[in-house]
Amino acid sequence: MQQVINVFLIGISIGSIYALMSLALVLVWRSTRVVNFAQAGQAIVTTYIAWEVVNRSGSFLMAFILAVAIGGLIGGLVESGMMRTLFKHASDGPVAAVAPVIATLGLLGVIRALVGLIWTNEGKRFESPVSTAGFVIGDTTLPFSRLNLLIIFTAAFVMIVFSIVFQRTNLGLALRAAAYNPEIARLSGVKVSMTRTIGWVFAGAAGAVAGILLSPNDSLTPYSLDVLFVFGFVAAVIGGLESLVGAVVGGLVLGVGLSFITFYLGTSLVFPTAFIVLVVVLLVRPSGLFGVKGARSA
């Protein structure tokens, strides 16, 4: 029983990171109907910057704040610089339908290459700000550590901030209205081109948090967040891709599920399981657990 609780808590910890990536993908999807394949790439940049700051100043908090700010900035720049040009030229040609996917993939490639050029492809060790040794109760050492606790609290904090912004502020109302129906939002005076950029800014910030939470106590390379993107995507699809709450729940469910698989069946089954979950959700309940029906064909 104690072990089950342990595995569950580890799952919540990793799941809250997936949830943040999933949140980032959903924010972008809601604002511009694009799945940003470069989301993890943007997070790689901010994570490397955080690594650099931690190495030079030793302050994890400063690294965190800087990473989030730069993450938001990159998101905004990508939307206003690249995506806007893309939509301006968009037509209904064969490539136009897949152009956003290709453009964000291209961006991912550029980011990785630049990161590799600056920091090389060799793995960097990202020291954890807190102890990664498990808590000790009596004479048993749990796998659950201070780092896991920090991850859960940080992710929860970010999610609470998001939910306050979205549910309680004018900006949040404008963002939601623009996501559900851009035309009515514009007719009500909402500057939708601005809410789009803000959606990307928020997504960039959320992705930056995910990257910085995943990397401590692990090796950081230009490719080390690829898996985070895929799990974030699976979580977003479980949640329906439209719903912020769904994104978070999807991430937690996936994290806990995969944690049990890792512990009882082995690491090598994690990826196949995630893929099967993705395909099953898409085939059986394409609108996700929280999605609106008929929203999938965009």
Binding site: A174, Y180, E183, I184, R186, L187, S188, G189, V190, V292
Partner: protein
């Protein structure tokens, strides 16, 4: 001080949806645009409110050229458009839908006051403030859509078929409210309708469009009584 449309041409790809329409609406009056399906009525409104670009021609409001301006900027100049088919956002609550119309003013007390005015206009919305808009009936949604536009404090209100798909009793109530908004609050109204008789009954002037052109315009009462127009365009 009028809404003035001059030789407006709008195209959907290769199709000319509006082919040189000109008319004027005097400030504080209620004008009805009548026509059958595909006559170009909706395209006309979407062009006036900036959702669609005009190919040629000019639109001016209060003596100012507003051709090609964006909808979000036009709202700030007092132009509100209630688009076709109960334009509310079903995922938001009634209150949020209303608040949306006043976001750009960024003034809490003014917003609260505007929402109160809407509740006075449509008491039924007051009881449903915290419900999601998708729980409302068709008539209530239309009221909410008009209410949202009202919160934007328009001086020119564009309405696209508010009677569509509603029960006769509700239609009458909606038309009365529209008429009241014009007479008592001094809002200039451009009402697009297929329900010719109902719309012309509350309107000052009528504009009859067919296949993207104006076939007749003038005093609403005279248009109702014109037997030639009746059989050809008004359908009764």
């Amino acid at each position: 001080m009028t809404l003035k449309v001059e030789r407006l041409v709008v195209e959907h790809g290769a199709i000319r949806a509006i082919d040189g329409i000109s008319f004027e609406v005097a400030e504080g009056s209620l004008a009805a645009v009548i026509g059958s399906n595909g006559a170009g009525k909706t395209t006309l409104l979407r062009t006036l409110s900036g959702l669609k670009d005009a190919k040629l021609g000019k639109v001016s409001w209060m003596g100012r050229d507003i051709t090609g301006m964006k909808p979000e900027d036009l709202v700030r100049r007092g132009l509100s458009h209630v688009s076709e088919g109960k334009s509310v956002i079903p995922e938001l609550t009634v209150k949020e839908n209303l608040a949306l119309g006043g976001l750009w003013r960024n003034n809490k007390s003014e917003l609260a006051q505007s929402i109160e005015e809407v509740v006075e206009l449509f008491p039924r919305l007051g009881e449903r403030m915290s419900q999601r808009a998708d729980t409302l009936s068709g008539g209530e949604r239309q009221m909410l859509a008009i209410g949202r536009a009202h919160v934007s404090k328009p001086s020119l209100l564009l309405l696209d078929e508010p009677s569509l798909g509603l029960a006769p009793l509700v239609v009458e109530q909606i038309f009365q409210t529209i008429s009241m908004l014009c007479r008592d609050r001094g809002i200039t109204v451009l009402l697009v309708e297929q329900n010719a008789l109902g719309a012309l009954a509350i309107a000052d002037t009528g504009i009859i469009v067919n296949l993207g052109t104006v076939v007749a315009q003038g005093d609403a009462k005279e248009l109702i009584d014109d037997p030639a127009l009746r059989s050809a365009y008004l359908g009764y």
